[in-house]
C-alpha cells in the first residue's frame, strides 16, 4: 500500500519564477491538504482539496493555487516566487468520511534565490 508521495524532492528557483509541486495521496484517500513548513516552525495550512475543488484556504495569498485531479492527486502552484516562499512543502492525505488522521508525504524542499 503506497503512502503519500511528492515530487520533486528538492527544487531551486529564482525570485519571480513559478513552480509546480505534485502529490499523490495514500491509496484510498480522497482529500489532499497542503502545508508550508518554514525552517524551525510547525507546518502551516495552505489549502485543502476534495472532489477536485478547493474546500478551504489558510492565510496565504492568491499566488498560491492548486488543483486536484479525478484520481485524487494534486498540484500546488506558486507564482511570482519570493525569497520568503523558501520552505518545505508538505502534502497530507486523508479520507473525508470521518477518519481524522492525515498522512504526510516526505515534502518538497523549495529554495528561492
Amino acid at each position: 500500500d503506497a503512502g503519500v508521495t511528492q515530487s520533486p524532492t528538492h527544487l531551486i528557483k529564482t525570485r519571480g519564477q513559478q513552480v509546480t509541486l505534485r502529490c499523490s495521496p495514500k491509496s484510498g484517500h480522497d482529500t489532499v491538504s497542503w502545508y508550508q513548513q518554514a525552517l524551525g516552525q510547525g507546518p502551516q495550512f495552505i489549502f485543502q482539496y476534495y472532489e477536485e475543488e478547493e474546500r478551504q484556504r489558510g492565510n496565504f495569498p492568491d499566488r498560491f493555487s492548486g488543483h486536484q485531479f479525478p484520481n485524487y492527486s494534486s498540484e500546488l502552484n506558486v507564482n511570482a516566487l519570493l525569497l520568503g516562499d523558501s520552505a518545505l512543502y508538505l502534502c497530507a492525505s486523508s479520507l473525508d468520511r470521518g477518519v481524522y488522521e492525515q498522512y504526510f508525504g516526505p515534502g518538497t524542499r523549495l529554495t528561492v534565490t
Binding site: 503519500v4 495550512f45 485543502q48 497530507a92 508525504g105
Partner: protein
C-alpha cells in the same frame, strides 16, 4: 538530511529514561489532537491521537494526556531510545465549516535529543 527546527526548544534525555513533551493549544472548540514525530528530511509521522472526550490515551511506549481546563497536552515516551530523537509537534484539528472537512494547526515543536 535536511535539518528541521534549528531554533526549537530542546529536551535532552538519557537513553532508557522517560521523556515528557508539553504543548499548549489555543482553540477551545478543538475536538481532536494528534502528536507527530518529524525526523530530519522527512514529513511528520503520526504517533498517537486523542479525542477531547478523553483525558488519557496509551499506545506502545507512548501516552498522551489532555487537560482541557488549561488547554494543555503532553506526550510521554517510556524508556526513550536513540531512534526517538526527532522534532515532536502537537496538532489540533480545526473544523472547516460544516461537514467533516478539517485542517490541522500545529504547535511550535520540541526537539528531543537522546543521549547514550
Amino acid at each position: 538530511g535536511e535539518s528541521v527546527g534549528l531554533h526549537l526548544p530542546t529536551l535532552s534525555v538519557q537513553e532508557g529514561d522517560n521523556s515528557i513533551i508539553n504543548c499548549a493549544y489555543s482553540n477551545s472548540a478543538s475536538d481532536y489532537f494528534i502528536w507527530y514525530k518529524q525526523e530530519s528530511g522527512k514529513g511528520p509521522q503520526f504517533i498517537i491521537d486523542i479525542r477531547s472526550n478523553m483525558d488519557k490515551r496509551q499506545g506502545q511506549r507512548v501516552t498522551v494526556l489532555l487537560n482541557k481546563t488549561v488547554k494543555h497536552l503532553s506526550l510521554q515516551i517510556a524508556a526513550t531510545q536513540p531512534g526517538d530523537s526527532a522534532v515532536y509537534f502537537c496538532a489540533e484539528k480545526i473544523p472547516l465549516g460544516a461537514g467533516t472537512a478539517s485542517k490541522l494547526t500545529f504547535g511550535t515543536g520540541t526537539r528531543l535529543q537522546v543521549t547514550l
